[in-house]
């Protein structure tokens, strides 16, 4: 009944309550949406990194992470690693790659690139590179074909069908090179990757680098994000000290930092909005308690304890905040839903692409988007009601009854 009394008290002055509710709801909806867009951006950054290069898990020869020399290879061609990965249910797909730094040279220019030897038939199950084809085809049938980033093609001033030379240092330390015809060009969300990547067939790359059957890495994706750790753990257990197993977050800790930083930002954002609200809530409660001085005296005369009066005021504060938060979340979720096709930021495409973000950003909502505002709201509502609650009980009942 205290709860019912608190609830009805809220609506004694509907206009006043409505304004507080509107402030809370707008604050929450706005924070929710802007955080969702931020998360959408980070999410894309992570996804771009995973889908173009990282995969969920990479397995390298021991020592690769500290010193990625070409001599540190999986000499068995990654067979052991792939066998282990495939022996459990978590794996969606895996593929093998060779990766080395090199130069790409055309008739018009040259560029420093990462040369990646990929398995044309298996790579598409792991990365988006084939889907990102802009022009031409995915290697095709002929020998000695390369697929390169569109930005790189622009820099080298080559088109599909033109020839480029790829210069590398092979496994024996010799400078060597080979000619490849551009079969296709791709554009991913990462301008860095597009500017600096030449894809070759794995076998041809191995030949160019005098690697025999060895590969530098096995890349795997799990069926589901939740299964990445399980997959990695199984690989670590089975491969033991014979290979380095790394998840995407270990390979790119900065991306994880980014995610964590945004989590932190969400707390600060909500805290700032709620502190601003707390003043408004406290103000309204104070007015309402002041207006009800006599009524509170009567409640005390009837035998209500001081603590119960405080609980009543705190409940009123909590109720108005929670109703505001819930409607704010509702508006925010609806807004995120309406924007699920993404916000067009193509005017900022270059800036976004330099961080691996596509120019269309869809807001991403996460469970913590529900949790954080509710927790912060609860705390602020409690704090905001503290002063009014104390004021509500500062008169002795007789005194309160005397006041009008």
């Amino acid at each position: 009944m205290l709860l019912r009394l608190a609830w009805r008290n809220l609506w004694r002055n509907p206009r006043r309550t409505a304004i507080v509710l509107a402030a809370v709801a707008i604050g929450i909806a706005g924070s929710l949406l802007s955080m969702a867009v931020n998360y959408g951006m980070v999410d894309q950054m992570v996804r771009t990194a995973i889908e173009t290069e990282l995969g969920h898990i990479q397995i390298h020869a021991v020592g690769w992470e500290d010193d990625p020399k070409l001599e540190r290879m999986l000499a068995d061609g990654g067979r052991a690693a792939e066998h282990v990965l495939a022996s459990g249910p978590e794996l969606r797909a895996s593929t093998r790659r060779v990766r080395v730094d090199g130069l790409a040279i055309s008739a018009r220019g040259s560029a420093g690139v990462a040369v990646m030897g990929v398995e044309p038939d298996r790579e598409p199950a792991v990365s988006v590179l084939r889907d990102a084809l802009l022009d031409g085809e995915w290697f095709g049938q002929s020998r000695l074909r390369a697929v390169i980033g569109q930005a790189l093609a622009d820099q080298l001033e080559v088109d599909v069908g033109d020839k480029i030379a790829v210069s590398v240092q092979d496994a024996l330390g010799e400078l060597t090179g080979g000619g490849f015809r551009v079969a296709g060009t791709f554009r991913t969300s990462s301008s860095d990757f597009d500017r600096s990547t030449v894809l070759l067939r794995l076998a041809e790359a191995q030949q160019l680098l005098a690697l025999g059957g060895a590969v530098t890495e096995v890349v795997a994706v799990a069926r589901d994000d939740d299964e990445i750790d399980a997959l990695a753990q199984r690989a670590v257990k089975s491969l033991g000290g014979t290979a380095e197993v790394r998840t995407w977050s270990e390979l790119q800790p900065l991306l994880l930092y980014m995610v964590q930083t945004f989590d932190m930002m969400a707390w600060y954002l909500y805290a700032a909005v709620f502190i601003a609200m707390a003043f408004g809530i406290a103000n309204v409660l104070l007015m309402s308690v002041h207006e009800r001085t006599r009524e509170i005296g009567m409640l005390r005369a009837m035998g209500m304890r001081r603590g119960q009066v405080i609980v009543l005021v705190v409940l009123e504060s909590l109720l108005v905040t929670i109703v505001g938060v819930v409607s704010g979340l509702g508006i925010g979720f609806a807004g995120a839903l309406a924007l699920r096709d993404g916000i067009d930021l193509s005017a900022f495409a270059e800036g976004l692409a330099s961080y691996g973000v596509a120019p269309r950003i869809a807001p991403v909502l996460r469970p913590s988007d529900l949790l954080i505002p509710l927790v912060v709201a609860g705390i602020t509502a409690g704090l905001a009601s503290w002063w009014p609650a104390i004021r509500a009980t500062r008169y002795r009942p007789a005194e309160a009854l005397r006041r009008s």
Partner: protein, 413 residues
């Protein structure tokens, strides 16, 4: 004047309510001013870092160079052009560069790099590269052509296992499209705020690079330093008119053209900040609205009496409006009184980021130190925003007060 006095008294009537509303405004002003100052500081730092690292405030290059950055587009840095560059007072410093790509290797590990050929005598007048050498030294200014000294990014050196004194093989493609390779002696390792750049930057003497690439006396670009970032536009104008008539005329690109990604990221970041601050200000605006509305509703009877006494509704409207401006103004004055010293204090005491944020700053390519920058424009724009919000928030209560019906008002209590 009596209206103002009346409004002022009304504000003082309920000190507790006024205090809470003012406190909310102070909080908003504090966040708006100091957060903008902080962001501004971060952005200027990002610009300055990038500008002082590589591009300069503006860049002189042949038409088409910026899009392709290939050796096909070059400048002839003849005495006529040098004379003109030296003659423009807006130019604080200028440094010519040759830019090529190459593989740098030591033993069996090679790494693709951006090979930057600089004039050791001029470079420090534009960028901080020479001072960023942490091990060994920068290219010597009086080394002979052919000394073939090279400075590597520290991360790059670690990657290929090179140390100061080692000789590394540089392998590239010359202007003539012939292969070129040459041994260079590592004289120094540089630490850069941008980790990506540190992994892929190698600096050699411009003359050596011109020889290596068979580029003759041509240069790829000339980096220009203005007196400060906001003097970039005057610099551009002065240069354009000074270089007018040169054939072929080089293009002058201010830094946003050289680094469009940086400018866009800054704009987006600003947008994010403004959205957050807007939410905050709207929330505080509702607080003001509620306070004024309550004050008006409480005074229905009094307002009725005033109307009955012959006060015009427009006068009542003005009083209520003034009340809300006074309320916001009070918050504004106190808020600025707090925000400005804090902002100045933050400017004097840069924040060194913790480990986690340092990682992020590395990602963003800036040093992990946040120096806030409080601009006068931030202060007056914040003040304007708060006053506009207070004005909007006062409209409804003021209209309501002006429409009070004397008879109803007198009956209502």
């Amino acid at each position: 004047m009596s209206e103002l006095r009346l409004a002022w008294r009304n504000v003082g009537r309920n000190p507790r309510r006024t205090a809470l509303t003012v406190a909310a405004t102070v909080f908003a002003v504090l966040l708006v001013v100091d957060f903008t100052a902080l962001t501004r500081g971060v952005h200027e730092k990002m610009i300055e870092d990038s500008v002082r690292l590589r591009s300069g405030h503006a860049m002189l290059a042949a038409p088409g160079y910026l899009a392709e950055r290939s050796l096909d587009h070059f400048l002839e840095l003849d005495s006529a052009m040098i004379a003109r560059l030296d003659a423009v007072p807006e130019v604080e410093g200028w440094a010519p560069r040759v830019v090529g790509f190459a593989l740098v290797s030591q033993d069996v590990t090679s790494q693709g790099v951006a090979l930057l050929g600089v004039d050791p005598r001029r470079e420090s007048s534009v960028t901080s590269l020479p001072s960023r050498v942490v091990d060994g030294r920068f290219l010597s200014a009086d080394a002979e052509r052919g000394a073939r000294e090279i400075v590597l990014g520290k991360r790059l050196a670690e990657r290929i296992g090179a140390r100061v004194g080692d000789r590394v093989l540089v392998y590239g493609v010359a202007y003539t499209l012939e292969s070129a390779y040459e041994l260079f002696t590592v004289v120094g390792l540089a630490q850069l705020p941008d980790a990506r750049l540190e992994r892929t930057l190698a600096v050699v003497a411009m003359a050596d690079l011109q020889d290596f690439l068979a580029f003759g006396d041509r240069v790829s670009e000339v980096a220009l330093l203005a007196r400060s970032a906001d003097r970039t536009e005057p610099l551009r104008q002065a240069l354009v008119s000074s270089l007018d008539g040169l054939v072929p005329a080089p293009m002058v690109h201010p830094w946003p053209e050289v680094m469009p990604d940086l400018e866009q990221i800054l704009i987006l970041d600003d947008a994010g900040l403004y959205i957050m601050l807007a939410i905050l200000v709207v929330v505080v605006g509702f607080g003001i609205l509620n306070t004024i509305l309550m004050a008006v509703l409480e005074r229905q009877r009094e307002l009725g009496v005033m109307l009955a006494l012959g006060l015009r509704p427009s006068a009542i409207f003005r009083v209520v409006f003034l009340e809300s401006i006074l309320l916001a103004g009070l918050g504004l004055v106190l808020g600025l009184g707090l925000a400005i010293p804090i902002g100045l204090w933050m400017e004097a005491h840069p924040i060194v980021m913790g480990e986690q944020l340092a990682g992020l700053s590395e990602f963003m390519g800036m040093e992990p130190v946040i120096t806030s920058n409080l601009a006068f424009s931030t202060v007056w724009k914040s003040a304007l925003v708060i006053l506009v919000v207070a004005t909007v928030a006062s409209l409804y209560p003021a209209l309501k007060a002006g429409r009070a019906n004397p008879v109803d008002a007198l009956r209502s209590l």
